[in-house]
Amino acid sequence: MELLNPWPKYHKKEVSSHYCPGCGHGTVHRIVAEVLEEMDLGKRAFCVNPAGCAVLAYDYLDVDMIESSHGRGAAVATGIKRVRPDLFVFTYQGDGDLSAIGTAETIHSANRGEHISVIFINNAVYGMTGGQMAPTTLVRQRTTTTPNGRNPEFDGYTLHITDMIANLPGVVYAERVAATTPAAIRKTKKAIRTAFQTQVDELGYSIVEVLSACPTNWKLSPVESIEWIHTVMEKEFPLGVLTDKREKKV
């Protein structure tokens, strides 16, 4: 009898996860490891991990990795890929890393069409620091720095960074998915494959935004969190392909 779902090669085995129960990181880490193995990218992969809960991603993903100062992952990835275009370079970033402090690096690496793949974990809150507002926090959503709910008058509006960069000529592929149900998770994996293939085919910049649960800071159970993504987050952040310029680039 053959084991259908063996442990992914590029995910470390003897580890105890620090992620919270129901957190999306565990799921996405596994997807990334599977895709790297299926596409035979692990040997030449170089991942840039963020400041945020996934600062310890190097304890899980079993490829060469480098930390980045908060928000600057896209710049670090640019430096790596430009001098070593033969490496497969991707970033793994949260919503604060990518669309608050890292906004300039995100926009400009996309604008230059850097040949990197960006995995953007959007959980509408700052996880590691205890649940403060993120650029992607929804209006009226309660966080520790919006205790009465996000109020646009003081706190601005929910930022849709991926939509903002999708139409840049340098952005070849951008898709939004969710790490929720088995079907959605399969779509997440497919999107990450497509993004990675974009780099492999030397077409340019790709980004996959993954709506991801943060039960601890949403103060919901893991099951309620999945529900919240479906019923609330996906209304604000509709799933789907935001841009696909691959045919134009060939």
Partner: protein, 351 residues
């Protein structure tokens, strides 16, 4: 080999390329724009990477990425931009990655002005960024030294796995002098960097992190870095003495200020005043030993700076009260003249 007539800014760039640097990332800021512009043309011609980044912060982080692969990488800026790079420099130190950062100082604080100044000495030598680290700082005093010391900077960076700062000022960046460049280095002939990350291949994965959550491990890491800095202090200190053998007073100055001071010293020597110069070339490690040696016989030192007095503190620290330490400075972008220095030195000698 013929001498080339070149500006300081251009020389930093040309020397870096010849030293095997194949990645430059930078953002325009006066008075060092010519360095980036030179790189835009010549780094690409050399087959290297040039990016005009979206900010100085992006540039230093691009340096981090390139350096992690073992590539000789450089960025340059001036005072306010160097402030922006401090976190990146701290990370380079924590990662133990080599890199060269050129700072062409201008007036400050804040927007300051675009004239030459030496007001960033503290920032350069006292960390600048957060954490328990030191940055080797090299201050060239001529365009020829820019060429030679750029090679040294990359060498120290690689050998000790540390960021290194080349500290100039607006004058040093703009002046043009004849320069003889060292022979170019093919980066492929440089020693292999076994710590560099270039994909795990068939081996185990590795990662570069500066995060060390366990306090005991962090302490061990900090002391390991400290021992590295101690070794650099033992082996990489550089300075020049000028007419110091029979001096009764020593001027301490670096960079452009030292050139002006030499002019003053020559004037005073013609008038029979026995004054000499100690020119630190590495500002960190600071040439403490030579200062102490000189103080066995000489009891009056005057530090001249284009600032309100920063290096003077290191002179005082080195001498630990063995001699009198005076100071004269012109901050804000004022470039003093030899006459002015000569007048001040003569006054202090006679007092």
């Amino acid at each position: 080999m013929n001498k080339i007539f070149m500006s300081g800014n251009h020389t930093f760039a040309e020397a870096a390329i010849r030293a095997g640097c194949r990645a430059y990332f930078g953002y325009p800021i006066t008075p060092q724009n010519e360095l980036g512009e030179y790189m835009a043309e010549h780094m690409r011609k050399a087959g290297g990477t040039f990016i005009q980044s979206e900010s100085e912060i992006a540039a230093i982080n691009m340096v981090v990425g390139a350096a992690a692969t073992g590539t000789r990488a450089m960025t340059s800026s001036s005072s306010p931009g160097i402030s922006l790079k401090q976190e990146g420099i701290s990370f380079l130190a924590g990662f133990q990655l080599p890199a060269v950062i050129v700072n062409i100082m201008r007036g400050g604080p804040g927007m300051g002005n675009i004239a030459p100044a030496q007001g960033d000495y503290f920032q350069a030598t006292r960390g600048g960024g957060h954490g328990d680290y030191r940055t080797p700082v090299i201050a060239p005093g001529s365009v020829q030294e820019i060429a030679d010391l750029t090679f040294v900077a990359f060498d120290i960076a690689d050998r000790y796995r540390t960021p290194v700062m080349l500290l100039g000022d607006g004058m040093m960046g703009q002046i043009k002098e004849p320069v003889l460049f060292p022979d170019p280095i093919d980066p492929k002939t440089l020693p292999e960097k076994k710590w560099a990350l270039t994909g795990r291949g068939e081996g185990p994965s590795r990662y570069l992190a500066s995060l060390v959550l366990d306090s005991q491990k962090m302490e061990n890491h900090n002391w390991a870095l400290f021992r590295k800095y101690e070794e650099i202090s033992r082996t990489e200190t550089r300075f020049e003495t000028y007419r110091a053998e029979d001096a009764e007073m020593i001027v301490v100055a670096y960079g452009t200020t030292a050139r002006i001071a030499k002019g003053a010293i020559n004037q005073l020597r013609e008038q029979g005043l026995p004054v000499g110069l100690l020119r630190p070339i590495t500002l960190w490690p600071f040439p403490n030993e030579i200062l102490r040696d000189l103080s066995k016989r000489i009891k009056k030192f005057i530090t001249l700076e284009m600032s309100t007095g920063q290096m003077v503190e290191d002179v005082r620290l080195a001498l630990e009260g063995r001699a009198e330490v005076l100071f004269y400075g012109r901050p804000g972008g004022i470039i003093p003249e030899p006459d002015e220095f000569a007048h001040v030195i003569r006054e202090k000698m006679n007092s």
